[in-house]
Symmetry: C2
Amino acid sequence: MGTGKIVLALDGMGGDHAPDVIVNGADIARERYPGTSFLLFGDPARLKPLVDKRKGLSQALEIVPAEDAVLAEDKPSFALRRRRKSSMWLAVEAAAQGRADTVVSAGNTGALLAISMFAMRTVAGAHRPALASFVPTSRGETVMLDLGANLECDADNLAEFAVMGSVFAQVLLGLDRPKVGLLNVGSEEEKGHEELRQAARWLRRPEAPVNFHGFVEGNDIGRGTVDVVVTDGFTGNVALKSIEGTAKLYTQFVRDAFRTSTFAKIGFLFAAGALVKMRKRVDPRRYNGGVFLGLDGVCVKSHGGTDALGFAYAVGVAVDLVRYEYKNKLAEGLTKLREVTSVAEASPEALQAGGGAE
Amino acid sequence: MGTGKIVLALDGMGGDHAPDVIVNGADIARERYPGTSFLLFGDPARLKPLVDKRKGLSQALEIVPAEDAVLAEDKPSFALRRRRKSSMWLAVEAAAQGRADTVVSAGNTGALLAISMFAMRTVAGAHRPALASFVPTSRGETVMLDLGANLECDADNLAEFAVMGSVFAQVLLGLDRPKVGLLNVGSEEEKGHEELRQAARWLRRPEAPVNFHGFVEGNDIGRGTVDVVVTDGFTGNVALKSIEGTAKLYTQFVRDAFRTSTFAKIGFLFAAGALVKMRKRVDPRRYNGGVFLGLDGVCVKSHGGTDALGFAYAVGVAVDLVRYEYKNKLAEGLTKLREVTSVAEASPEALQAGGGAE
């Protein structure tokens, strides 16, 4: 661990501010994570001048020409079939074929999912990949998934997401036995859709490879009740964006509050430092590393609108996933899960008894 | 309008702090909304001393004995069948039978829904009732529904909720043509479940009785993009609680920020007034009036943990719904909706052409 050199494939043309933030982000990441090197995919005519401006970057980075780029408005299916020569496709392919350990892109999310699904396939034991990210909580941060890769999920999907999120939290947050919760409309066992209840029955079993807390509700996310919040992609996407929207709203409310009177303005002068610190605590750039979990490879999605610091953070997530062997640990967890769910399918009564005996 | 006397049935024993906050809330509401009177259901031995303490309240209020009460832990089906003599049941019945114009309870939400569904039935044209409430936004407040009455919704349900929410916003927010949005994972027409897309096709038709904005995302809630956010009860419940959790988290972050240094503490002294004002702006008691829309009657749910001010606010919502004839306006809207959805069912092609022509 940490001794081998890590090679990252970067989509040089993906994101609102590409290629500038990609190159600058790579430069920040290079200093922050020694022993990493980069394959930067994109248009050399645009990339080379930017790389040359950053002293020493060219020693850790190789530009790989890509004549096309995935556009923000491309449909996933179009990008998958018709952008075969794009910087995104070639970068994903490099990671899928082992020329790089991982790939990072700030480009079109749907396209990245489609291409990485196609090129990497899911890891053994996972039916579908899920998009995961961190959200700030009063105790630090919580992993939430799925954030939109799968609008509808069955019990298998949800149970697998629980394992993916648990291993992710182990690796990224350094937790031994992260607490995992299933997002629902109440914490009682009989609440919610049947898919949720079935997933909970599996996860509650003592042999299940996660530390299952049970059902959690929307307000448990910010409270940090669990380390991993598992939900379907529709609910997760809405919840995450609702949280982001509320965070923005409150930032505005605080700003407005300091403008209401002369007293408040004076107060602001004294408190400015503390408020900047608070803003840092909830800085969305820190929550920038969306990751597709469940692939037979490591693919990290950076926000499209990120700056160089945010992109470097996403690179850091990718580095950690490789360095701490996320993929192997996930495969182990999914194998254990399969033992639980296959028993369940053979004999639901035995399962229920197991769940009730806890 | 506003000239007729309004009679409110109150569940005197429902909520965490009943009967105290119910009686005190009624007293505040009586002063705030002249011309209202109350039927207060519950245990006279507990209610009478509280009412007598409030000078003048007994002139506007009649205590109606109820020997039982719905408990917070009662299952809805149990409360419906076995709490027939409870303060909640009798209060709902009074409103259903016309002895009161409306009913307000801070008790068990599921029980209140089950009992009011049974006693009032849904209004003509509505398949299911929905729980609606206000959420704070940067432009003021937005109506959101369903917040948990229906975990799964079809296109009919969603289209009906759109009409219910629209009429509610007209009556409560005084808007002529409230903008209505359907919560989804993207704003493009092809996004989301088929039920959402079907509901959108209906609502997009020029004859539809709502001012349909289209799909909105989670972050549009806080932004105030629309006046009414429509979603299924599972997603709505999670989104609302996620918003509440984030609001709490930020309040804590702001508080923490002011404790980090002496400078910040001095800043707090100057800014305290402004911050109190900010807190008022997002005071959950102002967003206390959850309402079951779509019933053939008016039933308002107050938060279980509310104080007297919050309960008085919920009473105010009930008063406005009666005074501005919510029920009649809703019936009109649903009739118009039925014309749109029945055409759609007969000829989906015609509908699509209509939707596309907009």
